[in-house]
Amino acid sequence: MSKIQEIKTAVETGKTKLIAGLVQEALDAGEQANDILAAMIDAMGVVGDKFSKGEIFVPEMLIAGKAMQKGIDVLKPHLAGEASVSLGKCIIGTVAGDLHDIGKNLVALMIESTGFEVIDLGVDVPANKFVETIKANPDVKVVALSALLTTTMPAMKDTVAAIRESGLTGFKIIVGGAPITQEFADSIGADAYAPDAGSAAVKVKTLV
């Protein structure tokens, strides 16, 4: 098994104690830092898939994310610049009137562990707060909106509308939450939809 493959397996199986050593060995053996990073991001994609299919549990997903972070710590000094460590910024929050945070937090964790820098605005976030945060972070790549209640689905629609009306561009909007469907996402003009944290992490990577 190649070192890169070993690193991939170590991230997938959450080997938090082994990963730093493996990354260092790969670097010493002349592997490119960017290739190692790509392998780890791939591994998190596999983890996200497995979670979506119900093959693994939340802690297994979290520990894989932790393993990846430990790998990145070793990798950081070898990457060209801070920018290449991050796939981009992602602003996430639960829409106005909705106080649910467990699902949103999981999605935030998963997106972060696939290599994004996540700005978590929390719950009950008014539409203008999203707009302001996008303005303050012109390099944002993804805006992720969560709604867990049928009664807050209209707030999600309003939030998407407010963001579009602001005229700000350069990012994609992804939505999710228990009552949300692909049809609803399409109908309110979102760019993407994901049914769970695992597929959200896979999906956001395709958006950038």
């Binding site: 959450g14 549990f57 802690p59 297994e60 979290l62 520990i63 932790k66």
Partner: protein, 267 residues
């Protein structure tokens, strides 16, 4: 968490029968089943007359070692028999057990002094099982003096505080809990051992009492459990408790044991 599988014990009628008939497969199968339940030690107790006990243990220990390399808990009420039977074990295990009765520690401790063997020690002495927490801790102090004499590190000792039957206890397990906590406070690396099923003697639906006891005793600091590892409900309860006590990072042990089929729906 240390799990010692208790199934190979001559005081269990079916095992006694197998020992009497020298039914090797019966013993091998019990060893295999417990190994599959991922126990840390397999207890081997002959429960026969002392004149044939060493040879019986030799036969049993060798059978276990034919099917697994999980270390053995050499179990005999006789310290002399324990000390003699250690030689049959391929790797260091646990002596089960000594106490401050007679010369037990003086027989076993020198034998394991410069080895990696561990040892279960009961908190009783020549006057029997002390009634109060204070007196049990006095026995504990004597025991630790002996251990120090033979240079046996506290981390190699599994102290059995001797849990009384719930049906005759006047304060549930409160006294035992205070003993466990005090022992752990004094020696953080020491193990506290207990047989899970003793507590429920002569009560109906014993399994429930055993499970509740396991949870509370673990919460107090018991970390070395002598039990039936084929009892799936009990095993699940123990792994869940470990996670709830914060001793199982990311619930990996719990999930791993579930995946290995140690508890949950049978696959």
């Amino acid at each position: 968490m240390i799990i010692i599988g208790e199934k190979i014990n001559g005081s269990i009628p079916s095992v006694a029968k197998a020992i009497a008939a020298r039914d090797a497969d019966f013993i091998r199968n019990l060893a295999k089943a417990q190994a599959e339940a991922k126990v840390d030690y397999i207890d081997v107790c002959a429960s026969v007359g002392e004149d044939v006990e060493v040879e019986t243990l030799k036969w049993m220990i060798e059978l276990v070692q034919e099917v697994t390399d999980i270390p053995i808990a050499v179990d005999s009420p006789s310290a002399r028999v324990c000390a003699e039977a250690l030689q049959f074990c391929k790797k260091p295990g646990i002596v089960n057990s000594v106490s401050m009765e007679g010369d037990k520690t003086d027989i076993v401790f020198p034998r394991i002094a410069d080895t990696n063997w561990e040892c279960i020690a009961l908190l009783c002495d020549d006057s029997g099982i002390p009634r109060t927490a204070e007196k049990r801790l006095q026995v504990f102090d004597e025991l630790m003096k002996k251990a120090k004499e033979y240079n046996i590190d506290p981390s190699r000792l599994h102290i059995d505080p001797l849990v009384e039957m719930l049906c005759t206890s006047e304060d549930g397990i409160n006294m035992i809990v205070s003993v466990i906590k005090e022992i752990k406070a004094r020696y953080p690396t020491i193990h506290v051992a207990g047989a899970i099923s003793n507590i429920s003697y002569n009560l109906p639906a014993r399994r429930l009492v055993n499970q509740a006891f396991a949870v509370l005793a673990m919460n107090a600091g018991m970390d070395s459990l002598i039990l039936d590892p084929l009892n799936r409900d009990l095993m699940g309860m123990i792994y869940a408790t470990q996670a709830l006590l914060g001793n199982d990072e990311y619930c990996m042990e719990y999930i791993g044991a579930y995946r290995a089929g140690l508890f949950g729906p049978k696959k």
